[in-house]
């Protein structure tokens, strides 16, 4: 018998279950794109059959980090840039948990960039949502890793001399097996992409464009947006790495010129997830490790049995 009966529970799930009674209304600014992420998650989770207590939402720091204050699941609001290693370990400890990690562009592509690369490389089975508003919001408007070249802020008074990071291309190179970009202003697409990301077996990275109406007034509201799958102007195969790479590059190039491209960029259903890889080399137990601590019949090897090599 499982010690975690919220996992895999079959029942009707109401979208309202994901709204915490203790804090039903977010503190985000009016018009903030973060509302779009929250809404799409609240819609997507019941639709993929997930209940609040089988989901662990792990966030970083920033406006985006407050996601799990407003999404009623098990939550771990960690520290700046470190949501991914915490989330990864939770998944290894209990592979049956639905793990969703989230954070901002500074959190994921800046301070947590190393973890982003390695989590994608290892292809952990989780969803990673990056709230990309091209700015540091909560600290009041400093230039971020995705801010366009020339972006002026209090910390870059002459305009940033740096070209922005390429989140999609970087994700592909690092090894993510599902990569998409969506936007808060495109709720239907966002919900569908989040659902696909959750259901994907592997590291699903969603770069979520979330406009910041307070500190990034110069930036577009990411409208009009174009869905690359629906537009006739773009044709590429999302399962083809080279074509995906080319499409990503173009998407990243034109964003700062005013063209907002969104959609699925890369989908690899064949790449085994990290838990599968780890099990294949015999380094992951069959029974979720977390279950074992509640299992009275579990056998525990003792150090006493290792002593022969020392005598």
């Amino acid at each position: 018998m499982s010690a975690f009966n919220a996992i895999g529970e079959e029942r009707e799930i109401d979208r309202d279950e994901f709204t915490p009674g203790v804090e039903p209304q977010p503190t985000w600014c009016p018009g903030c794109g973060d509302f779009g992420v929250l809404k799409s998650l609240k819609q997507a989770l019941p639709e993929v059959g997930k209940t609040p207590e089988e989901v662990l939402t792990v966030t970083g720091i920033g406006c985006s980090g407050k996601l799990n204050s407003y999404l009623d699941t098990y939550g771990f609001h960690t520290i700046h840039g470190r949501s991914l290693p915490v989330a990864r370990a939770a998944k290894l400890a209990n592979p049956e948990l639905e793990v969703i990690a989230a954070g901002g562009d500074g959190d994921g592509y800046g301070i947590g960039g190393n973890h982003f690369i390695h989590t994608a490389r290892e292809n952990h089975d989780m969803t990673y949502i990056v709230f990309n508003n091209e700015i540091f919001g909560l600290t009041k408007g400093q230039t971020s890793p995705t801010s366009p070249k020339g972006h002026k802020s209090k910390t870059q008074p002459s305009g940033s001399a740096k070209t922005p990071i390429r989140p999609l291309s970087q994700s592909l190179t690092a090894g993510a097996s599902y990569i998409a970009r969506t936007a808060a202003v495109n709720p239907n697409q966002a919900k569908e992409i989040i659902k696909e990301a959750i259901e994907h077996d592997g590291f699903a990275h969603v770069d979520f464009l979330t406009q910041c109406p307070t500190w990034n007034k110069d930036a577009r509201q990411y409208v009009p947006y174009i869905d690359v799958q629906e537009s006739d102007d773009y044709e590429f195969d999302v399962t083809d790495r080279a074509e995906a790479a080319e499409m990503m590059r173009e998407t990243e190039d034109v964003l700062n010129e005013g063209t907002v491209l969104t959609g699925r960029y890369y989908v690899d259903e064949d790449r085994p997830s990290y838990t599968e890889e780890k099990a294949a080399v015999g380094e992951l137990p069959d029974q979720p490790l977390a279950e074992r601590y509640f299992d009275d019949d579990a056998e525990w090897e003792r150090s006493y049995d290792l002593l022969e090599r020392h005598t």
């Binding site: 203790v22 207590e53 204050s69 609001h77 960690t78 990864r88 370990a89 973890h115 509640f294 005598t311």
Partner: protein, 634 residues
């Protein structure tokens, strides 16, 4: 200095097989009935450079390296760089001989590989003159030639062991058994041939004029030879830890490696990750999801763990971290021991620190205190740190096999089951009051695990309300902070009143002079105190393991019972003495420090000398490379 002991030093270059040879020889001595203690000295270099392992063997308990040593097997450095006039490193080939001479006792034995070390070089270091002055017995042997003749050059270690056994009048039985365990086929055959040939040749060629022989002893119970790193890893296994995340760094890598190699067969998980921030964050994540998890590093890597450590404190996620100190600051001396990360480990990370820190002094304590760290961490939902060092990490000693005959404790402490969660307090919306200060006992509020029905809550590094939501309400802040700090006071009381003390006392209980130490310096201090008391002095000793919470009562009682005390530690700024004064707020005028920070651990004689210098009326400086920091007001 006792005459009934063998201190055998095998010296060579890194890559010359010093480690494995010494490990087997130590085991052979142990199997013959002796107590053994090893000390490892090596450079941060893969090939070449002067390295040695010292094995102290006696018919009585040995808990420290000795003063100097009495048998040198010098293989020379087969990976030596070419000497050049302007290069600072000089002739490296002979260093495993020349660098070891100062510490060799009078009447000692030198065996060196004349197949590698030339007669010319030996003359250049005046070996024979020095041997005459010190009554050393020198045996040049062509170990390389012997090895080549019967096998391969790398087997010259075996030849050296054969010569050693002959000179010490040892039976070859245990050595042969160990070789048969470790190898087979042609390799074994060649090694055995070399062993016997070296043994016989030595006996035939030389007339023995030396007095040193292998001591004889017996054990009442079966013994195991293991290191501090083994003990920490085994303590973790028996505490039910089955998750480790890490990043390589000397000397912590030993613990990581042992667990990484054993966990797969035990259904555990080991993760080597991108950096130490991730390593500690993974341990926190795994623990949050219901697993007994650990991570660790050495000073530099531990610095990166400051963030996740603070997160574990604030979210009350139990976790065990181990910190294997090496000489700092910065990269310092990567393979040399020091006890200079104490303050780092106690206070790193922002805010008021809320953690438990243990500093074991022996192999047995390393095992016990690692288990204790897990017990406390999971009972009180607090990070617990085991701080040790390169010395304890790598030193091997024999322990009764029966010491390890105990059960695993996979208990998750103050963690609720789903049945218990149904009875627990929730807010109106059904969220579990994970951080409920109203019902907490000893500051501990019970936890749930993600996936459990009825247990959802938010863990956050922000200050938070009982259900975990971010809160900056002053009343809540004070209530939560006080509750978390109450855990430390409860732990202090539990350690003091309910558990066997982790502090170690030795020496003369009635003495007016005390020596206090902590961590791995314990063995040398214990031996020094024994020697002082044997020589008519009256000294008592205390070795402290609880660094946080500090054992106020015990240390106070000890210091009140003496007129003066010397604090012995391996660092330059008297960090433990500082901690002691901070915690107790007095005794400054009683405490002198004896500090050593040259990269080598204390020898007992250095502590004896420190005592004598401290008590001497006239101005006297220690001859050893140590520093005496006088008491306040002196």
């Amino acid at each position: 200095m006792s005459d009934d002991e063998l201190i055998w030093r095998i010296a060579g270059g890194s890559g010359d097989g010093i480690d494995s040879t010494s490990q087997n020889f130590a085991k052979a001595l142990m199997r013959s009935g002796l107590d053994v203690f090893t000390h490892r000295h090596y450079p941060s270099r893969i090939r070449g450079g002067h390295t040695y392992v010292e094995i102290r063997a006696a018919d009585h308990e040995v808990q420290s390296r000795g003063d100097g040593y009495n048998f040198l097997l010098s293989l020379g450095d087969s990976f030596a760089r070419n000497p050049q006039e302007e290069a600072y490193y000089g002739n490296e080939e002979i260093k495993p001989l020349s660098e070891n001479l100062d510490e060799l006792r009078e009447g000692g034995i030198i065996v060196y590989d004349e197949g590698l070390i030339s007669e010319e070089d030996v003359d250049a270091i005046d070996l024979h003159e020095r041997a005459e002055e010190n009554d050393w017995h020198v045996f040049p042997m062509d170990l390389r030639g012997l090895a080549r003749e019967h096998g391969r050059e790398v087997m010259r270690n075996t030849a050296g062991v054969g010569v050693t056994a002959a000179l010490l009048d040892m039976e070859l039985e245990h050595i042969e058994d160990l070789m048969s365990d470790a190898m087979g086929g042609d390799v074994l055959e060649a090694n055995l041939e070399i062993l016997h040939e070296a043994y016989e040749t030595t006996r035939e060629e030389y007339e023995f004029e030396h007095d040193l022989r292998a001591p004889e002893g017996t054990h009442d119970a079966e013994q195991a030879l293991l290191s501090g790193s083994n003990a920490i890893a085994y303590g973790a296994i028996d505490a039910g830890c089955r998750f480790i995340a890490g990043y390589p760094m000397t000397p912590w890598t030993d613990v990581f490696t042992i667990l990484a190699q054993n966990f797969p067969d035990m259904g555990g998980v080991s993760e080597q990750v991108e950096d130490e921030i991730a390593a500690a964050a993974l341990a926190v994540g795994a623990s949050h999801a219901g697993v007994k998890a650990m991570s660790g590093s050495s000073g530099g890597g531990f610095a990166l763990m400051s963030e996740p450590l603070g997160l574990a404190e604030m979210t009350e996620t139990p976790v065990v971290l181990v910190e294997s100190m090496r000489a700092g600051p910065s990269t310092g001396m990567p393979t040399k021991p020091e006890q200079a990360d104490l303050e780092h480990v106690l206070y790193t990370s922002q805010g008021d620190s809320q953690r438990v820190v243990f500093a074991p002094g022996t192999i047995e304590e390393a095992y016990e205190q690692t288990r204790l760290a897990f017990d406390i961490a999971w009972d009180y939902q607090i990070p617990a740190i085991v701080i040790y060092d390169q010395k304890l990490s790598g030193e091997n000693t024999n322990v009764d096999v029966d010491f390890f005959d105990r059960e695993v404790s996979p208990d998750l402490g103050s963690t609720l089951t789903e049945d218990e969660l149904r009875e627990a307090a929730h807010d109106n919306s059904g969220k579990f009051k994970r951080f409920n200060y109203e019902t907490a006992e000893n500051g501990v509020a019970s936890r749930s695990i993600p996936g459990q029905k009825g247990g959802r809550f938010l863990a956050t590094g922000n200050e938070h309300s009982p259900v975990g939501h971010i809160s900056e309400d002053p009343d809540n802040r004070v209530a939560q902070m006080d509750r978390r700090l109450e855990k430390l006071e409860s732990i202090r009381a539990e350690l003091d009143e309910e558990r066997e003390s982790t502090q170690t006392y030795f020496g003369d209980e009635t003495a007016d002079y005390g020596i206090i130490t902590w961590g791995s310096s314990q063995g040398a201090v214990e031996e020094a105190i024994g020697r002082l008391n044997e020589n008519g002095h009256s000294v008592k000793g205390l070795s402290v393991s609880d660094m946080m919470p500090f054992p106020e009562r015990e240390v106070t009682e000890f210091l009140e019972s003496v007129d003066e005390a010397m604090v012995v530690e391996m660092n330059a700024t008297a960090q433990f003495r500082g901690l002691l004064q901070k915690e107790l707020g007095r005794f400054g005028e009683k405490l002198t420090s004896l500090l050593k920070y040259n990269g080598n651990p204390f020898e007992p004689a250095e502590i004896v000398e420190g005592y004598e210098v401290n008590l001497a009326e006239e101005d006297r400086e220690p001859t050893a490379q140590v520093r005496i920091e006088p008491a306040a007001g002196d």
